[in-house]
């Protein structure tokens, strides 16, 4: 990859982020409903309102406010929460850790579940060169595919509710709602996140398994696969060395999308498992019209999404020499 290409991507990255933060700012500036009245209550005196408005900078014209906001945002000052009256940065710090841990854990689960199972299912779905598939083998494959399709159709919050019921209430592997902050006990913090992460990971893994299988079957009929067999490659060798590399390209793009969906999906799962993360804060701030917080969270998640897409592009370029820019 050339410097020019990297610069171009970084340029697109910066522009996208700028557009997003601008839109976020404008959106929350034109909303009907005045945060000041909300903060001070209906009975606040006229002077107090004016005072508060100038304190928050709301009396200035919108473009002045925008540039001021952008300037401080870039320097890491995300403003002050309306409802908690503390800097957004302080409010967010441990919430970001919680949500990031949850998302990453869920993503690791997706990889750990979908890669081996996807490979296994693909391996036995490829028309075997050993001979015709036995009816038993066919039945297993059909059953696995059907189960996969069903798991794919379960929304993560329902997986969460089922897991809460089975593992939390019946088997008592964890206590629903007994979240421990990282600062309290890191081990207990991660232990509590296991089941929420699993709830996000299960349906997602099913989707990835399906994609891997489809992609592998699509590649398995290629001429180069026949060539690899003609050189004397065994089933697993050809699958792992030849087919997988080609089949992974769409999977990698999907995984990047998955990770950003997981970050957004954690908003819901945090609600199911009562985890005080970024998602819960976002929901709370939306109903409190605490726009500095909402803005910051939206821009943070947006940045994560954009970075992930960039990363997926770079990885695909690395794997596929045909689109590699030399």
């Amino acid at each position: 990859m050339t410097l020019k290409y990297i610069l171009k991507r970084v340029g697109v990255f910066v522009v996208t982020l700028f557009v997003i933060s601008t839109l976020a700012f404008i959106a929350f500036s034109i909303i009907p409903g005045d945060p000041v009245t909300r903060m001070l209550g209906m009975n606040a005196s006229e002077e107090r309102i004016v005072e508060m408005r100038s304190e928050l900078g709301l009396d200035k014209p919108i473009h002045t406010r925008f540039f001021k906001w952008l300037q401080s945002f870039v320097t890491g000052d995300f403003g002050k929460s309306y409802s908690y009256s503390i800097p957004v940065r302080e409010l967010l710090s441990d919430k970001v850790l919680t949500t990031a841990s949850l998302s990453l854990m869920a993503f690791v689960f997706v990889l750990a579940i979908s890669m081996p199972l996807g490979l296994l299912l693909s391996r036995y779905s490829i028309i075997s060169s050993k001979g015709a598939k036995s009816s038993f083998q066919r039945a297993i494959i059909s059953a696995a595919t059907a189960l996969n399709q069903i798991i794919m159709s379960i929304p993560p919050f329902f997986t969460g509710i089922i897991i809460t019921y089975v593992f939390g209430l019946i088997l008592r592997f964890f206590t629903p709602g007994a979240f421990v902050p990282y600062s309290g006990n890191p081990a207990a913090f991660y232990a509590y996140l296991i089941f929420p992460a699993l709830s996000i990971a299960l349906p997602r893994s099913a989707m990835v398994i399906k994609l891997i299988r489809g992609s592998v079957l699509n590649e398995a009929g290629s001429d180069y696969v026949r060539t690899a067999y003609s050189r004397g490659g065994g089933q697993w060798y050809v699958l792992l060395v030849h087919i997988m590399r080609n089949a992974l390209i769409p999977v990698i793009n999907f995984l990047a999308m998955t990770l950003s969906d997981i970050v957004a999906g954690s908003i819901i799962i945090e609600q199911v498992f009562a985890i005080p993360g970024m998602g819960r804060l976002l929901l709370l701030s939306i109903s409190n019209r605490d726009y500095p917080v909402v803005q910051t969270i939206v821009v943070i998640i947006a940045s994560v999404v954009v970075i992930l897409n960039l990363l997926a592009d770079v990885i695909c370029q690395y794997i596929d020499p045909r689109i590699r820019i030399t």
Binding site: T16, V19, I20, A24, A27, F28, I31, Q149, I150, M152, S153, I154, P155, F157, F158, I161, I162, T164, Y165, L169, S260, D261, V263, A264, G265, I267, I268, Q271, V272, L282, L283, I286, R289, V294, V298, I301, A302, V305, V306, N309
Partner: protein, 267 residues
């Protein structure tokens, strides 16, 4: 349209027909009044009067689930009408004519689509406020780019095929080419995407309502029922289960149908 000789469509249609007929029946008749409170029968176990038991107010869970399916399906259908309707028009025009308008619309669509739709929907709702109609509008608008993209992709692909060129040579006007020559060939892809879009709409509506930002009481919806039922998961697990299973069946049916539609390209 070529239909694969497989079990996908068969089971997809059966499941979907089952769930949708329950929803349609639910518009006219439910076993009990979904909002009638029977305070002497709170948390009743399944019985002949209340086939799925009652909730914390003593309301019939089955009736509420049936009503919820209908509400969720309605939101999804109207979302699709907005998203697909506008997306079809934009995709048709940009796909057929191309040019800088196409480029601009598709690039901005890319940016919108790169974001998890649930996040955008939340931002949208935080601006417009909650409620059934706002959810429909928010989701409908958010679905436009992806539909427009699919329609455009098909139009770009088909417009370069030989039979379209020959139709042009024979003097067919743009409208005729778009509607008579290109659109019918795009139908399998569009139908498949419509099924996927329906699922996304169901999922999004259920998520929003679960978070309390979608359909508001007294209106019912499957997501709402799930969040209502969660506090009583231990005492009345069938409450959450019945609402959840309804969502799963709804999504499963359409995803099987979308699997069963074979695209001409993959032949």
């Amino acid at each position: 349209m070529i239909i694969k000789k497989n079990h996908y469509l068969f089971f997809g249609f059966i499941i979907t027909a089952l769930v949708l007929s329950i929803a349609i029946i639910g518009f006219f008749w439910t076993p009990n009044n979904p909002n009638a409170i029977d305070s002497s029968n709170r948390f009743a176990s399944p019985s002949t009067k209340y086939p799925l038991g009652t909730d914390n107010f003593g309301r019939c869970i089955l009736s509420r689930v049936v009503e919820g399916i209908g509400a969720t399906v309605l939101v999804a259908v109207f979302t699709l009408i907005i998203g697909f309707g506008v997306g079809l028009i934009i995709g048709t025009l940009t796909g057929y004519y191309g040019g800088w308008v196409d480029e601009l619309l598709m690039r901005s669509g890319d940016v919108v689509m790169a974001f998890p739709s649930i996040l955008l929907a939340l931002v949208f709702i935080s601006i417009t406020g909650t409620g059934r109609y706002n959810v429909i509008i928010a989701l409908g608008v958010l679905f436009i780019p992806s539909f427009a993209r699919v329609v455009r992709g098909e139009f770009v692909r088909i417009r370069e095929l030989d039979f379209v060129h020959s139709a042009k040579i024979m003097g067919a006007g743009p409208l005729r080419i778009m509607l008579v020559h290109i659109l019918p060939n795009a139908i399998p892809v569009l139908l498949r995407f419509l099924a996927i879009g329906f699922n996304n709409a169901v999922l999004a509506e259920a998520s929003m309502s679960y978070l309390g930002l979608g359909v508001q009481p007294p209106d019912s919806s499957l997501g709402r029922l799930l969040s209502d039922s969660q506090p009583f998961l231990f005492t009345a697990p069938w409450y959450a289960l019945s609402a959840g299973v309804a969502i799963v069946l709804l999504i499963l049916g359409f995803s099987l149908i979308s699997e069963g539609i074979v695209l001409p390209r993959s032949e």
